[in-house]
Symmetry: C2
Subunit: 422 residues, 2 copies
């Protein structure tokens, strides 16, 4: 049997003999009792090593130019030098930037919490638009805070703006939208100039309390020599007089130490001051010593670029391997389609038939952990049961090699089994 034949062209008996072969391979793999993990977008040890000099980089100097002692209490907006760093990463003015602690997710959670009381002043269920597939932790925030999620799909240019416009025109209780505008998690989309311009217009008719949560998590995380471009939304909003409608987020989690970086919020002066007041109830200030460490280490745009090139050298071969494994095992078979991202941390794969949960289960039983099927959709429910997020960065390349072999095997086995029993 030709391994590259389209699966829909196979007869039932062809499918059955193929299933037998795959099942035999699967049983062998299972016996090997692997323990491999493709679940989360975690940097590899070699990537973490790139930033080891962070600890100790201050060499006993804790004073800022303005006389601030970073070791002591205070200053919710962050140290000026780190706000400058955030401005460089977000491509905005440093006065629009707040620098937070080790988690931009915490900043997003707090920002949404902070708006909640305003939204609750209106009658009705608060709703967010969620382009899907998307980032599970965004959706969990909505779920915990009781915000209803409405999904829209993607076009090549980013989220389906026509669908978004029409939803917003029909429902004034839509108060926000989640976006990962560059190398979107997990699809790898970077929003086109036109899409960003349309985002800038959303705030015009949406009321004062509508917020675009612009999670620029992969702002500087390129895999290709020619990075995707991204128009600056805050600048575009300033032209449309909708600056209050955008709140940008970024962090150094996948730049320095994943769990011990700093985070950035970028938004209008009014939003920043409201948010600062909100946060002042729960903290005196974020960790300024760590902010200063990051300033000393990441320095400026050129230094960041050079540093991210080193990440690319480690990460890019892993993405190349995923692509090669998928291509060589599945190209032309009609079993699945997948993305070839130019940055970020994920490959997004859609099975042709609704077998994502089956693939994840087969892989788990064979010792390869994948993100749960459905995780990339609100409430964990993928209506097509087809999207699987592959996170290739964390495992060493030899493990990734094995894990991908198991994955493509499980994918084809689940598909063949589906077609036989369908």
């Amino acid at each position: 049997m030709d391994r590259t034949m389209r699966i829909t062209d196979l007869s039932i008996s062809d499918l059955e003999s193929r299933q037998a072969v795959l099942q035999g391979e699967y049983d062998e793999v299972k016996a090997a009792k692997l323990s491999l993990d493709l679940t989360r977008g975690k940097p590899a040890t070699a990537q973490l090593d790139l930033s080891n000099e962070l600890d100790g980089i201050l060499e006993g100097f804790f004073l800022l130019q303005d006389g601030t002692d970073v070791r002591n209490y205070g200053g919710i907006l962050g140290i000026p030098e780190a706000r400058e760093l955030g401005a460089t990463i977000l491509g905005i003015d440093s006065e629009s930037v707040m620098v937070g602690g080790n988690s931009s997710l915490t900043m997003m959670y707090n920002y949404v919490s902070h708006m909640l009381t305003r939204w609750q002043e209106e009658d009705g269920t608060i709703k967010f638009i969620c382009p899907v597939p998307g980032y599970d932790r965004h959706f969990t925030i909505c779920e915990q805070l009781g915000i209803e999620m409405i999904t829209v799909g993607f076009t090549d240019d980013g989220p389906d703006m026509d669908a978004i416009d029409s939803l917003m025109a029909s429902d004034p209780m839509i108060k926000g939208i989640w976006c990962v505008p560059r190398y979107s998690n997990p699809t790898g989309h970077s929003y086109s100039d036109e899409v960003v311009k349309r985002f800038a217009k959303l705030g015009k008719s949406a009321g004062n309390h509508f917020r675009i949560i612009w999670d620029n998590a992969y702002a500087v995380h390129h895999l290709a020599d020619t990075p995707d471009r991204l128009t600056n939304l805050l600048a575009a909003c300033e032209k449309e007089d909708t600056s209050d409608s955008v709140v940008m987020f970024a962090s150094t989690s996948k730049v320095t130490f994943a769990g011990s970086g700093i985070s950035f919020v970028g938004t209008s002066a009014q939003n920043l001051s409201d948010f600062e007041a909100f946060l002042s109830t729960q903290l005196i200030g974020f960790d300024k010593v760590n902010q200063l460490r990051h300033v000393r280490f990441l320095k400026d745009a050129d230094a960041i670029k050079a540093h991210m090139e080193k990440h690319k050298d480690i990460v890019q071969p892993k993405f190349a391997m995923v692509e090669q494994k998928l291509d060589s095992a599945l190209a032309g078979k009609g079993v699945a389609s997948w993305t070839k991202p130019k940055g970020g941390y994920f490959v997004s794969l859609d099975t042709t038939y609704g077998v994502a949960d089956e693939v994840v289960e087969l892989a788990a039983d064979a010792g390869v952990k994948l993100t749960p099927a459905g995780a990339t959709f609100p409430y964990g429910q993928d209506p097509d049961n087809s999207n699987i997020r592959i996170a290739p960065t964390y495992p060493p390349i030899a493990e990734l090699d094995k894990a991908m072999d198991v994955f493509v095997l499980c994918l084809e086995l689940a598909t063949v089994t589906h077609l036989i029993t369908a």
Copy 2:
């Protein structure tokens, strides 16, 4: 006129001549345009210097005994070694400890937020008991979250337990109480064994969702050679089968770097697991690199004790100066009474007449910033307008000397003026 005469024994003309003298001194001070600050309990630079080796202490070693790489994502409960450190500071078992980021206030805010949805399931206004005077940031959390505050006073042994028992018996919507059980902010009270035992009983009849917020902020912050003792509340609660009613907090903010330390939460296994689940929506984990730094630096109980002795050597002379200034200027005059704390960060002073706001204003006009009058009470309202919190740790001793001279001057001037116009 005898400067040590009781102020109530003075005639109006005596008071007027005293006022003239004080006003003259005050005008001179004002002309000197001082800029001194006694507002917040911030460590002095010399105290921060005690921990400078924190930055760089890891020397490139980021792996834990269990193989965890502290640089990467994950682990909301904190690294085992830091949980052990928290257990030492809180005097409880490490399995009862969560280790957080740089702010125990954030942990308290989150903990109270987390309980809010449960409390809201019952009909009625949620209420907290607040022993007063107390810590303004506790009260602000209640205010932001819409929790009504009911005040109780102190006896020599700690909060007025009879008043607390009677409030709780009469109102099932009392869901919590704020406590700083050792060297209470600002009064310096350490709760007696008997008071702690009575706290352990509160949970018996208060329902499953009642929580004692036990902010042990000054757990190891002694000023005297014989520290105040404090019975362990969690152990006492275990005996009474009320472990879920207590949530302990502590931090290293006034042990290492005020803005860049780590925080601890100590509570029952059930509470810890509920809280962990709540936090998992807003973060992947706290800064484990900084947790490991603190483990390497603070080591164990003996090392912490030795380190805190160094703080005491810096801080104790400042408290001695405050006491000496108050004694020499005001003893026997009937103008105010004040505390002589054996630990913590504050001296609490009560004016005899309701002139606290006037004193703070006079001092401010003379260039000495004090915590706003009323700040130590819920909603910023001191019914007697008499409590003033003095924070002597931050200024260098020469500045403290000047600031206290201004303070006692303003205090006497405001009192004399009050008596003349009353």
